[in-house]
Each structure stands twice: as structure tokens, then as C-alpha cells.
Amino acid sequence: MEKDILIRVDNISKSFRKVQALSGFSLSVSSGSIFSLLGPNGAGKTTLMKILLGLVGSDSGSVTIYDLPVSSPLSRRNVRYLPENVTFPSWATPEVLFRQLERIRHESSTEEFRQRCIELECADLMKRPLGKMSRGQKQRVALSLVTAGKPDLVLLDEPSSGLDPGGRILVRNLIRNLSSEGATVLINSHLLGEVERVCDTATFISRGRLIAEGELDSLSRQTGLAYIETDNADNMKLSLEKLGYSCRKESKGVVAELPDPSSFPDLARSVLDTGIRFTGMNQMRESLEDVFLRIMQNDSEQGDDIVS
């Protein structure tokens, strides 16, 4: 529905001297989604994010947030942004920084900030200067600062940067919580495993152009592999190999290679025919990394065709 579109990017272009960062780029982001921008280095992801915030002006086209042009500060009223590699003053404590932010936002959300700090397990760092924190601790504090309150749109540039596995899990939970609170979250990250775990939709950008977009499930294809979950993996593997399938054993089952992705029903019949007890079977789908590589490969080949 029209009213659900939060971000509307219409045919924008941006160049930095001779480098074309974005070219005829259009995009719509629905309210409440967890959205990721994916693409190789220099694809134009950060430029797009900065155009959304009015930090970089586009050469042509229009960008609106809630139908307000991004040149207006009002469009950023409930928008939060965490840049990559931001360095806050080393003397400042999280409490001081939050007070500074409250002054600018003209709002008080100290309690929400405390809650966010508890959520990101950095509540004990409130009075510690940032200069005396590790990189991961600073990142947690920065995420708490940015996401406290009731934001409508949160833009995160490499949010898991510098975090240990525990910290990454907390960030995933934070993103899900923000979404459940009604916020739209836009993530720019190269950590595809993290993106895959939290995002519902993705946009692939290459050489300043949108090359694919959609829900993650619809973007990933079924592969030529099937997974059979069984306690009797050795026998299952032997039986399927006798039927001509190439198999490998995994911890709680067997991965079988299909002659072609559409022959999964044939394998299913073969598994039933073996008479060996199994608890589950499914055709494996591409991971986001596979999708990314495939889409980029296609784009590269198309680009080569155009050049040749």
C-alpha cells in the first residue's frame, strides 16, 4: 500500500568527479521491514545511505522519507544513523554523549537508553570514558546511543563491526527488537551470515545500479543438494550410493547430490525405498553468500558482454 512506503528513491544519480557512484537508481522500502544493501566494495551502498540522510546530495532524481525530501531536517526527525568507524571524543562517557544527543533531539529518553544498554550488555560502562573502552565496547555503546527511544528508521553501517560472536548475537536481537517495535531497519554490511539471519529483504547494488531486489527467500534458489536427517547415516549413505547418488556423511545425516535440482522427488522415493528410518528430508537452498556470488557473477558477465 502507498502509505506503507517509508523510503522512496526515484531515479537518482551521483558522481564524484569522474566516478559514477549511482546511476538511475530507484528503490522503495516498506515501513517495518529489515532491509539490507548488498554489493561489492565501491558499489554505491554507502553513497545511497548518505543520500538518504542528506549527507551527500544527488546530482539528479528525488529521495523522500515519509514523503518529505531528504534535504529537509524534518525527514530525519525519527531517523537514527550509525556511521561506520565513528570516533567519539575519548574523554566523553556514554552518559555525557547521550545528554548531548538529547539536547539536539529536544527529547528525553534516558530510561530507554538505559534499557538499550542493558540489552546490549554495556550498562556497566555508563561512566567510563570512551577512550578507555575496547572497540567492541565502543560499538555496543554507539548502538545503544543511536537506537534509544522510538525511531521510525534506523540506518546501520556495518553494525557488527568489531564485535565478538556474543556481541553479534546481541546486535541481531537488537535489530529484531527494533523491528518488532515498529522501526524500519536498513543495514549495510559485508557480513552476509549476519544479514541472512536478520533481514527479510535485500537489494543488490553493483557499479551504482540496482541489479536485484526482493525477499531473501525468493532470491535464493534451490540447489542440487538434499539433506536427509537420520540416525543411521552410514547405511543411508551406502544404500543411496548403490542407487547411483553421490553422497557425503554429516553429523546427523547425509547430503546427497541430485542429478538436477528438479529430481528431488525421485530421491525422496529412493530414500523411502531403502526402508531406513529418517526424521527429515529437504532440498537445500542457496545461502545468501551463494546468492550474492551468483548475482554478482551474472552482473559481471553482462557487464563484460556490454564491453565486448
Binding site: F16, K50, L53, G54, L55, V56, G57, P73, L74, R76, R77, V79, R80, Y81, P83, N85, V86, T87, F88, P89, W91, V96, Q100, L101, R103, I104, R105, L155
Partner: protein, 282 residues
């Protein structure tokens, strides 16, 4: 945002150093003036002693203020150049500018708020320094200043010119280059500002080329007019030696129009700086 800028500046070592230097300067000044107040100036010659006897406390105050003034001015100028040239580049270099600009505030507000902080801190320091000089002097050599309100306005005009120039240059040049250029301009403006006052005492007797250069410097970088206004407003109204010093243009008044021009000039530079800042991609 302005308060955030002030908070940030007050934590910087350069501001702490300037504060310590101010305290040390005023301490030394106090010591020197108190020593001078109890000194015996008689020289053992009849005529010289008569001349000394003609001088009042106002004359001693004038001498003290004119000695300390340039030193205090150098300290304040150095501070405003250093903190003024680093404020915006540091926010940009540390990656904080995108963060501030992503908040619901205009670029003009960010530019002025962050920019005004160094001006406010330097103005406060200048008030403490020149206020301290005035107070210490008047304790030992009681006098009535010529025009205290004029001091406040002139000081603002002087610092605003230096600040606007350094703000603009810091956006287009490297930090160190902008500092050096503004320091050079301030020194040249001070030199030609003095020449300008002397030239007024000898109308028509100055080489045309020197006159042209002097006027050009005065109008291209009008900081010295403000500084001279500070000295003019601060010195005693009725010192005997004032007329002699006036001959060298030291105690000449500064027309209000010159201060208005200084403010206008600053506004032009600030506007150019903002134009540049508004077009910057972060």
C-alpha cells in the same frame, strides 16, 4: 549543539594551556604593577624629576596597559586561530560530522553552533585577560577608562574577523596552512594598523604606494581596527602623556563605522564558509 561544542572545547588541552597561561600572565602582571607602584622614579636631575612629578597614576596605568595589551592580544589571537581552525576539520576527520548532520537539524545550525564555540571561548578568555589587566591596574593606579562598552564591542569585532577567516580557510585548506595564513594576516594587519594611525597624523606626507598598501590591508583584514578599539576604550581618560602618544597614533579612537565594516566583512567570510560547508559531501 553549541553547548556540546563548548563542552568539547573545554576538555581540550590547548584551552587548558591557554587558561593556565592566562592565570600566569595575570599573576606576573600583578607582580610587575605592584612593584612599579612602589618604585621611586626620581632620577636626581631637577628637570627630569619635575617631569616625573607631573605624571599621575593615570599615566602609569596607561603605560602598564599599553605594555601588557599586545601580549594579551597575541595569546588570544593564537588561541582563536588554533581552536577555530581545528573545530570543524576535527569533527569531519573523526567521522562525527555525518553523525551530527544525520540528526534533525539544519546544516546552518551545525555550522554555526560548532563554529561559534571557539569564538565564545576565545571571547571569554579575552574578557578575562583584558578585564584582569584593567582590574589589576586600577587597584594600584586608580583611573577611569575611556569607554568600557566600546571595549566589549571592539573585542568582538577583532575576534570575529580572525574567527571568520580561520573558519573559512580551515574548510578549504589543511589545518596548519589555515593557521599560518591567519597568523600572518593578523601580524601584517597589526603592523599596517599602526602605520595607518601614524599616517593619519601626517596627512599628505606619506608615499602614495605605502598609503595604498596600508588602506588595502586595513580593508582586506580589518581585525586590527577592533584590537585598537579595545586599547582605546581601556586606557585612562585623563592621562598627561596621552597627547604625546597620540602623536604616534597609539591612543587614537576607532570610528564606529570601522567596527561595523569589520562585522560585515566577517559576515561575508562566514557566508562563503557556509556556502562551502553546505556543498560538502560527508
Amino acid at each position: 549543539m553549541f553547548l556540546n561544542g563548548i563542552e568539547q572545547l573545554l576538555r581540550r588541552k590547548i584551552v587548558l594551556t591557554a587558561a593556565i597561561a592566562t592565570v600566569a600572565f595575570l599573576g606576573l602582571y600583578w607582580w610587575g604593577v605592584s612593584a612599579a607602584s612602589s618604585a621611586d622614579l626620581s632620577m636626581g636631575h631637577g628637570e627630569a624629576d619635575m617631569a616625573v612629578d607631573m605624571l599621575g597614576p593615570e599615566d602609569a596605568a596607561l603605560a602598564a596597559i599599553l605594555t601588557a595589551g599586545p601580549l594579551a592580544a597575541t595569546l588570544v589571537t593564537a588561541l582563536i586561530i588554533v581552536i577555530g581552525s581545528t573545530m570543524l576539520p576535527e569533527e569531519i576527520g573523526q567521522g562525527r560530522m555525518p553523525f551530527w548532520l544525520s540528526l534533525p537539524q539544519t546544516r546552518l545550525k551545525v555550522y554555526l553552533s560548532l563554529g561559534l564555540a571557539p569564538l565564545a571561548v576565545s571571547y571569554a578568555l579575552a574578557l578575562i585577560l583584558f578585564g584582569g589587566i584593567f582590574l589589576i591596574t586600577s587597584i594600584y593606579f586608580p583611573f577611569t577608562a575611556r569607554n568600557i562598552p566600546f571595549v566589549f564591542i571592539s573585542m568582538l569585532a577583532w575576534l570575529t574577523v580572525v574567527w571568520a577567516a580561520v573558519m573559512l580557510l580551515s574548510l578549504v585548506l589543511k589545518k596548519i596552512a589555515s593557521m599560518l595564513i591567519v597568523f600572518f594576516l593578523s601580524s601584517v594587519a597589526s603592523l599596517f594598523g599602526g602605520l595607518y594611525e601614524i599616517m593619519k597624523m601626517f596627512p599628505g606626507e606619506t608615499p602614495k604606494a605605502l598609503e595604498t598598501i596600508t588602506h588595502t590591508v586595513i580593508y582586506v583584514f580589518p581585525a586590527d581596527r577592533g584590537y585598537r578599539g579595545v586599547l582605546y576604550g581601556l586606557i585612562p581618560a585623563d592621562a598627561v602623556i596621552t597627547e604625546n602618544l597620540a602623536f604616534f597614533g597609539v591612543t587614537a579612537s576607532v570610528p564606529s563605522l570601522h567596527l561595523v565594516y569589520a562585522f560585515f566583512w566577517s559576515l561575508v567570510l562566514l557566508s562563503i564558509g557556509y556556502w562551502k560547508f553546505r556543498r560538502m559531501d560527508f
